[in-house]
Symmetry: C2
Subunit: 149 residues, 2 copies
DNA sequence: GTTTGGATTTGTAATGATTACTAATATTAA
DNA sequence: TTAATATTAGTAATCATTACAAATCCAAAC
């Protein structure tokens, strides 16, 4: 019963979510892996700790967390939902080469919008796509090799 | 062989897409319905014009258009991909009450970002969620009725 | 400590969107 | 006209997610 366990337990209780072992472990996983994991990744990794874990429980838990505002749901691609423990508005960049999703800061109030007067905005998502610095470097290397050969 | 048909045909040809009847009709549909339709909507509506149309053809066509940069793909929700004939960067607002997706203008260069130096940005997506003015009005009306009764 | 009722978890079945694949059809060039 | 090629249609397969029901857990009452 390490200290973090107690901390996460009370965090869930304060949101009226009963702190079951599975729920605490999913929350802990999200905190320790802020790399925007998929359900598959969360499920596979947690199975080594909880051998009886069901994928349905991971889905249920994440949906409960989402309704409680504990996680941010990312729908960058249509075939994989990702989860982010950081709920404050920030930008996401998906590298089309390696698939990594990285955060970037964005001054949300600096965005000039036209055509939203009278709208009640609850949620802001900013997704950029392109190539990350690491992959840009690899592509250049490959290009050079191709020119030499 | 109305004039638009010829126009769309050459537009496809200029992108190295052979202008088949199905492809022209999908393109025409997107232009006439800039409301960000789903594959289901496109398929159902075009079936009345092309009774033999296959949903696979709609998928294939939209994927070809996407690769050619003719359409923008919207992944606002994880269970429904939508298509937008307007490819210039602009914001999308999805009403959580009625599901309508509306456009808004955004001065993309005014966005201050921190943490993207060295990244090659190819695509920018901005999705807001909330309640549209029409639904805000309805909610207020319902509230008033509930207070009266 | 036992009982009991509700919450949670599990496992499987169902759903739904998208893709894979193949035969049929249409188009193009010889 | 023919033959090669591209496109389409129809069906099967895939994969993420949800629905559902039985098993299990847990907290409160006795
Ligand atoms: Mn993030
Ligand atoms: Mn749009
Ligand atoms: Zn990369
Ligand atoms: Zn609305």
């Amino acid at each position: 019963m390490y200290p973090l366990f107690k901390k996460l337990s009370t965090a869930l209780a304060s949101k009226n979510i009963r702190p079951s072992f599975q729920r605490i472990k999913v929350l802990e996983y999200l905190i320790e892996n802020p790399c925007h994991p998929t359900v598959e990744q969360i499920f596979t990794d947690l199975q080594s700790i909880i051998p009886t874990l069901s994928k349905t429980t991971v889905y249920n838990t994440l949906n409960i967390f989402h309704k409680a505002g504990l996680v941010r749901v990312l729908n960058i691609e249509d075939n994989e939902t990702r989860y982010d423990i950081i709920t404050e508005t920030h930008g996401h960049f998906k590298c089309e080469e390696c698939g990594t999703i990285s955060n970037f800061n964005i001054d949300i109030d600096s965005i000039e919008t036209d055509g939203l007067s009278g709208f009640k905005v609850n949620d802001r998502n900013i997704y950029f796509k392109g190539v990350c610095p690491k992959c840009l470097l690899n592509i250049k290397h490959i290009d050079r090799k191709e020119h030499i050969s």
